[in-house]
Symmetry: C5
Subunit: 86 residues, 5 copies
């Protein structure tokens, strides 16, 4: 699982069915790369989270029908990013 | 899910059966890498979209028989690419 | 799906059962990285193709029992590689 | 499978159901990138381990219901990291 | 599938059940990155092989219960690595 920081919510008026009412968050890696994840937990901007990818992401969303490849698995209690490595 | 920009359509006269009549789009990451995705939504060149990968991509195409590993999930309403990071 | 160029065929006298009689091709990305894919279409050296990865690659090979993680999905009609990006 | 070194445990008070009581470890690649894995073995900080990813990670956790995409598969008996390559 | 070179065997006294009696090999990419794969063929150090990843790796191991995400698929008859590209 990856360690990423919540940056903001993502708004898509035009999107596929199949994400139900799940919230989408923009996450940012320490190196600066941004990805989108489903958030079943309610993470806030600034939180460091770990994410579950692949088919497990659909289960992690609490509903296998949710069409995601990345889901927030948990908010890390204390996280100290270190010097950028990748 | 990744955040990519639609560049153009992709034309393949010779291709496998199994993509039905789905449209293929060339997408470009902020860093410049190009990938191909199925587009069930009707995105236009210039649109920023998020994409669903892996087995979820087949479901996202609206038909599990569509042979894709990357499908456009939604058009992002407002997206400001920032300085290239990866 | 990725966009890659066919370089050559790949010969493996010693290999696992499970690829049936499928042809293997060496593909090269614009950045120069080489990968191996199953070719159900009959692509030729120099052709630019798009490839399907993951579990969809097995379906794309036309036979789910074919043990591949990368299969050529189509030959791109006209492709202009641009300046290397990644 | 990847070769990574155990750095520490990971504490998440707020997390999804579905990880049961599995321990989470922060692992670090030789290049410095950090990831999170489920540890069914009891690895200690400093151990070099190999990790199983994808759907096999759920099986490797000993319970397919465990929502992970990365699981420690074994502790390597003797491992000499070499000069950083990637 | 990737093209990698066999470097050595890997010994793990403490490991998960589920790899049966499969041999583990350390493989090295042309760029120097090392990974671990199951070897159902009997490759030797120095051999260039191609590898199957993802869920196909479990099938390629000859037994879907083998918990691997990377399996050697074949030994390449003649392989000339070229100048490092990635």
């Amino acid at each position: 699982m990856e360690i990423l920081q919540v940056e903001s919510s993502l708004i898509c008026t035009s999107r596929i069915a199949g994400l139900e009412k799940m919230s989408l968050r923009v996450l940012r890696s320490q190196g600066g790369k941004r990805q989108v994840a489903v958030d079943p937990i309610g993470a806030r901007p600034g939180n460091w989270v770990y994410t579950v990818s692949g088919s497990a992401a659909r289960y992690a969303a609490g509903n296998f029908a949710v069409l995601t490849d990345l889901t927030i698995g948990g908010i890390i209690d204390n996280w100290e990013p270190d010097t950028p490595a990748s």
